[in-house]
């Protein structure tokens, strides 16, 4: 398999960044890691469990959809879309890589969302196999093998070398573009690393979490569960879970008057927010219980119902570590699976 020595990773990043924008996970002062645009000298974080997911690069928190010029009674629509530039997101975890399968089902289904597709067409996702699964991880619950990540290019590190395998045409083009830096390598030690990771996976606290009790056929059963009241009682409706979630894709569309025309933009939104469904004549989800239930029902029941059983969660664990009141999808699953 093609590989590069870990010492040479900076050379690789430089070579990529010369041709296109490169984003890599880097350490923050507070110990967390986050994606940053690569600049010379920047170091790859040893912690790939980034604060925010790679969703941001394809479905940004805010984006301009169209502009309008208003003059008297006349309106001019200005199509501001332009072809995105090529970019690479390096070091995406297997769970986050799977989130694109889910986001694709939403944004690339008819009618195709051209804003998202534009970035998907121009972005290359380079994944990195997990070697440090955290206590909050439960990707295996959703059938994800963190040692065999998806993505345009999959990478593995055995501590000494990073190995590359192209999964798509775009991924092959990427590997070809840096092939001068790569050499053939022996994967014996890599197999040991994978085995070690799998051993950790088996011992994780959430290793036995099951999706058996969920799916599209359990709609009314779970919707009517009396457990939602207790589960949602302490929810603040802050929306943190939604914003750090790699699969949450609800959005709002709003207009902004710049003083020199109107910008129509979309931004992330959350079904946990009280005004999400509020209309002039009322709100269909007046209580936090209803809004809380909507988010989890969507991931565990409604989404699988419409997508051949695929769940709207990848087990990345971000909501577990970030929720200010320590409520999360795992607690919901465990509560609901008990009859």
């Amino acid at each position: 398999m093609l590989k590069i020595s870990v010492e040479k990773i900076d050379e690789l990043f430089k070579a990529i960044a010369e041709k296109q924008t490169l984003y890599i996970p880097t350490d923050r002062e507070d110990g967390a890691s986050e994606y940053k645009k690569y600049e010379d000298g920047m170091k790859l974080s040893g912690n790939l469990n980034t604060l925010r997911s790679a969703k941001d690069f394809f479905f940004p928190q805010t984006e301009n959809l169209a502009d309008f010029k208003m003059e008297g009674k006349k309106i001019e629509v200005i199509d501001i879309r332009e072809e995105a530039e090529d970019f690479v997101v390096f070091g995406v975890r297997a769970c986050d890589a799977r989130s694109f399968t889910i986001l694709d089902k939403v944004f690339l289904s008819d009618p195709v969302d051209s804003y998202y597709k534009n970035r998907r067409d121009h972005g290359t996702i380079v994944t990195m196999a997990c070697t440090k699964p955290a206590e909050t991880c439960f990707c295996q619950t959703f059938g994800i093998d963190p040692t065999e990540p998806e993505g345009d290019v999959a990478c593995w590190s055995d501590g000494e070398s990073i190995f590359f395998k192209a999964n798509t045409e775009k991924g092959q083009a990427f590997v070809d573009s840096v092939s001068g830096l790569l050499e053939d390598g022996d994967t014996t030690k890599l197999d040991e690393t994978k085995a070690k990771t799998k051993e950790i996976m088996g011992k994780l606290p959430l290793a036995n979490l099951s999706t058996e009790a969920f799916g599209g056929d359990k709609l009314m059963e779970h919707f009517k569960s009396e457990k939602w009241a207790e589960l949602s009682e302490s929810c603040l409706g802050c929306g943190t879970c939604t914003f750090v979630c790699p699969t949450c894709q609800c959005y709002d569309i709003k207009d902004f008057n710049t003083g020199n025309g109107i910008k129509r933009f979309r931004c992330w939104d959350s079904c946990m927010y009280s005004d999400f469904t509020k209309m002039a004549h009322g709100n269909i989800r007046n209580s936090q219980l209803e809004r809380f239930r909507q988010r989890f029902m969507h991931k565990l029941v409604y989404f699988p119902s419409n997508n051949n059983g695929e769940f709207g969660c990848v087990g990345c664990g971000r909501c577990m570590s970030k929720c200010p009141i320590s409520m999360n999808i795992v607690k919901v699953m465990k509560a609901l699976e008990v009859k």
Partner: protein, 281 residues
């Protein structure tokens, strides 16, 4: 990149505004032709489908297309003033341009399940707006349908939407039975007085009829209960729903109820289909 995106709207121009009731106006909308003149429709639709209308800078909202697809001259929207966007729409003058995109959602199954059937339309207040498209479609294709009866009620005589069309065209049509009612006695009104659900029961419509119902949620609830008492089943009653929407194509998540999106799987549902959904509408 895709040449078009459904989120980027077309421009329409308001060519006529009719004050139907104290809080409902009906707007006539035309497309702008390449030579700059206003004529024709911005796009084709089926009865029950909706469009996203917007005044940039104010907001965008989903409205049912009130005119029938058989009308080739223009599109119409009956809109009740009840919030921010609708207040702005009500303040428009003829000649104002708006943005419009669509058509969105499914439609009343006028060419399939409803074909050849006896039809009973039940509407309350602004609930007539989406049904008017179907009623006029049925009138223009009268040979394809059996008996047609319209039961329509509102708070007062002044709150009946499209009143002139109702008395000039629908009541004058010998092939249609029209039953109007208002909630309370009113000077100058010699028609029926009483709430729609009770009036439906009094009229005791034939069980052969397929029912299309739209109005305030409370009216729908009691009318449906009344219809069931009369022997109607949920499989013969259709309604159309209204929820907050942003994208109109099942992606923004806003109108999601159960595994359905009202914008694309609805807005038209049969009551037996609604039974399978959480009661969140």
């Amino acid at each position: 990149m895709n040449a078009i995106d459904t989120l980027i709207p077309h421009i329409g121009v308001v060519t006529d505004i009719r004050q139907d009731t104290p809080d409902v106006k009906t707007f006539r909308v035309n497309a702008i032709q390449p030579d700059g003149t206003a004529s024709g429709k911005v796009f084709e639709h089926m009865p029950g489908q909706c469009a996203m209308l917007s005044i940039p800078g104010v907001g965008e909202g989903m409205f049912s297309i009130t005119s029938s697809p058989t009308n080739n001259e223009f599109m119409e929207f009956s809109i009740k003033k009840c919030g921010c966007l609708t207040s702005w729409l009500h303040a428009m003058e003829v000649g104002q341009q708006i943005t419009i995109r669509g058509p969105y959602g499914n439609n009343f199954p006028v060419e399939t399940e409803l074909k050849g059937k006896d039809l009973l339309f039940i509407a309350g207040g602004i609930g007539l707006a989406p049904l008017r498209s179907v009623i006029n479609y049925v009138r223009d294709n009268r040979e394809n349908y059996g008996d047609v009866q319209i039961i329509y009620g509102s708070r007062s005589k002044d709150d009946l939407v499209d009143y002139q069309e109702i008395i000039n065209e629908w009541e004058a049509d010998p092939n249609i039975q029209v039953n109007l009612t208002i909630d309370r006695e009113q000077e100058g009104w010699d028609g029926h007085v009483g709430f729609v659900p009770n009036y439906v029961k009094e009229l005791n419509p034939s069980l052969s009829k397929t029912v299309l119902i739209c109005g305030p949620p409370i009216m729908i609830k009691f009318t449906l209960a009344g219809l069931k008492e009369l022997g109607f089943t949920e499989t013969q009653v259709y309604t159309t729903m209204e929820l907050r929407m942003k994208c109109a194509v099942g992606k923004c998540g806003r109108c999601n109820i159960g595994d359905k999106y009202v914008c694309k799987d609805g807005p038209v549902f049969r009551f037996d289909q609604l039974d399978e959904l959480p009661d969140e509408y």
